[in-house]
């Protein structure tokens, strides 16, 4: 049977990816502690946006409730560390993935019955259920104070590394950088395989024409549900990795404007491309950190960037660069 070539070949992917991976691996030797920390935040958000884009970019569903899965991952880690006194980050991640799986499977089952604007509102309404529970049940969740997850309570690699004693902050940032980087690369690889698999192609067929996809035998609703669950799991992983770095989880990451920020990241990078959400998340993180640091009106800055982006550069950073590269290549 002749195979149909879809997408770039492995050699071409490696030619692009290998220098990027090498650069990321060497960066902490070049930049200072603070920049390293910002990059870790960028990676965690990149995992979330990557998951989110499986729905928006590849399945054509705009979720306005992905804060629910990020928050579920984060709060699960906080509960495991605080209540079960388990310190191994690996066990925390497994727990976070399990709880996100349950929530995403349940919410997804409900949400994929609708598309377009109804899908968006339904995801939003359900994410707000989780938010209001975290907000109101303060004796469990700490209410608006949230739950502290100190880095001293976390061990990496099945207890091989802990972060107590002097200089532990520095050690934590540098080891956690590589920890998150490896998980980030694994997540990217898995997502790459998913979107280039027959399943991923079927999702794109659903996005482009739902009726035709159903005619050729794609089980539309079930595939949307599976995509929803995978998307939620990626975002849940991101939430779990984000908590020890932030040291605190609050209901803010469950509130709907945070879902809006995930959408923002993805559109900033460009949701029509695979790498768009990754670039967008890292760029958004820098943008927000520097806007917050330089002005108390940082929301205004972000809002203006978003409006200009949508009006002038709707294909995002990566989409625009690709178009420019295409033009240069032709001339």
């Amino acid at each position: 049977m002749p195979t149909v070539r879809t997408g770039p070949t492995l050699a071409r992917v490696l030619a692009v990816a290998a220098p990027a991976v090498l650069a990321f691996a060497l960066l902490p030797r070049v930049v200072d502690l603070y920049q390293t920390e910002l990059l870790i935040y960028g990676f965690t958000f990149a995992i979330a946006a990557l998951g989110f884009n499986l729905l928006l970019g590849y399945t054509g569903l705009l979720s306005f409730g992905h804060s629910a899965y990020f928050g579920t991952g984060a709060y699960t880690v906080a509960f495991i560390v605080r209540d079960l006194h388990v310190h191994s980050m690996e066990l925390c991640i497994l727990g976070a993935l399990a709880s996100t799986l349950i929530i995403a499977a349940l919410f997804g089952y409900v949400c994929v019955r609708h598309t377009r604007i109804f899908f968006g509102i339904l995801t939003l309404a359900l994410s707000q259920v989780i938010w209001s529970l975290a907000f109101k049940f303060f004796w469990v969740t700490g209410g608006t104070d949230g739950i502290r997850v100190p880095r001293t309570g976390i061990t990496l690699l099945a207890g091989l590394m802990d972060f107590k004693g002097s200089g532990s902050y520095q050690r934590f940032v540098y080891s956690y950088y590589y920890y998150v980087l490896v998980l980030f690369l694994v997540a990217v690889a898995i997502m790459w395989v998913i979107v280039h698999s027959p399943f991923g192609k079927a999702l794109q067929a659903i996005r482009d024409n739902e009726v035709r996809a159903a005619f050729v035998g794609v089980p539309v609703r079930r595939y949307r549900w599976i995509a929803f669950v995978i998307s939620g799991l990626f975002t849940g992983l991101a939430g779990a990795l984000w908590v020890p770095l932030n040291g605190l989880t609050t209901p803010d990451i469950l509130y709907w404007p945070f879902s809006g920020e995930i959408v923002f990241m993805t559109v900033l990078g460009g949701f029509r491309t695979f790498t768009g959400p990754i670039v967008g998340a890292i760029a958004f993180n820098y943008l927000k950190v520097y806007a917050v640091a330089s002005s108390q009106y940082w929301q205004l800055v972000l809002g203006v960037v978003l409006v200009v982006l949508v009006m002038v550069l709707p294909s995002g950073i990566v989409g625009t660069l690709k178009r420019l590269a295409g033009k240069l290549g032709r001339s």
Binding site: H114, I117, I121, L122, G303
Partner: protein, 296 residues
């Protein structure tokens, strides 16, 4: 018994405010198929403008019935200001995007939300702004052994008048016919010679006016604070999802349901009061996606 009367009055008061906001959101969705995420923030902006106008014209120590009348007359300025803001936003930010997928319009309104939140902080500062002097000088009514602020009855009256006025406007005037025609089939309306662009500006401005009016009437009773718009938006989402997107009757019934559930919730099940509301919205969306009063 007296408490029950007060609680019923409270939920109607709350429903009146929610109806004003949700009717605007629903009207904009009904005519333009836009979910305006900045709608709640426009409501908050209306509250700030009214409180600021009343405060700066009359000062804090205005007494006497003439002063009160003046303050009440000045209050709707928030609604008018927000309608003007809406009339600027639609042609500049939204119109260029109608040909693109609806996700982009949603994102623009999210960007607008962020911008307006900070514009409020920039213009009015971080401290709450209130027009409480109106509430104080109107005194209160005796209900049995309890007291109820007279001003809250004014708000209920405004809500009822707005509902009747909107109904008359949409179902009994020529402009209402044009609005409904555009909402049902935009291209057909345009082919029949209607200026769809103008209808869109007007519909958006009226929707914003309703949000601003909601803010204007609420500010003597509750001070305007940062973040009030983000909370209000989600509640009015719940309202129009229950009632049906784009339906005026739905907004009215939805507002009543939400406010009764909230009032009962605060009394009996305070922890899950918000969760119950969102679950009701999700259930309605599942069983009847067009809401109780929506048409497909």
């Amino acid at each position: 018994m007296d408490i029950l009367v007060i609680q019923i009055l409270n939920s109607i008061f709350y429903a009146a405010v929610l109806f004003l906001i949700s009717a605007g959101l629903s009207l904009i969705y009904g005519v333009m198929r836009i979910v305006n995420l900045a709608h709640g923030t426009l409501y908050a902006l209306g509250a700030y403008v009214s409180a600021w106008a009343v405060g700066s014209v009359f000062g804090a120590s205005a007494t006497g019935s003439w002063m009160l009348a003046g303050q009440l007359l000045l209050l709707p300025i928030g609604a008018i200001a927000i309608a003007a803001v809406g009339a600027v936003i639609e042609p500049t930010l939204l119109r260029p995007l109608y040909r693109r997928p609806e996700e982009y319009v949603l994102l623009i309104t999210f960007g607008l939300l962020m911008i307006l939140e900070d514009v409020m902080k920039l213009l009015f500062g971080g401290t709450p702004l209130s027009a409480g002097s109106i509430m104080d000088s109107m005194g209160s009514l005796r209900i049995g052994s309890l007291f109820y602020p007279t001003y809250n009855l004014v708000v209920i009256l405004v809500g009822v008048l707005a509902a009747v006025g909107l109904w008359w406007f949409i179902y009994r005037t020529r402009f209402g016919v044009i609005l409904r025609a555009t909402s049902q089939d935009r291209r057909m309306a345009s082919a029949l010679g209607l200026n769809v662009g103008r209808v869109y500006v007007q519909a958006f401005a009226i929707g914003c006016f309703m949000a601003g009016l909601g803010g204007a009437v609420v500010v003597p009773a509750q001070a305007a604070v940062l973040g009030m718009g983000v909370d209000a938006l989600i509640l009015s989402f719940v309202v129009i999802v229950i009632g049906g997107l784009g339906s005026l009757e739905g907004a009215l019934v939805g507002a009543l349901i939400v406010s009764v559930v909230r009032t009962a919730g605060i009394q009996f099940f305070a922890e899950i009061e918000l969760a119950v509301l969102y679950l009701i919205a999700a259930t309605v969306l599942l069983i009847r996606p067009t809401g109780l009063f929506g048409r497909a």
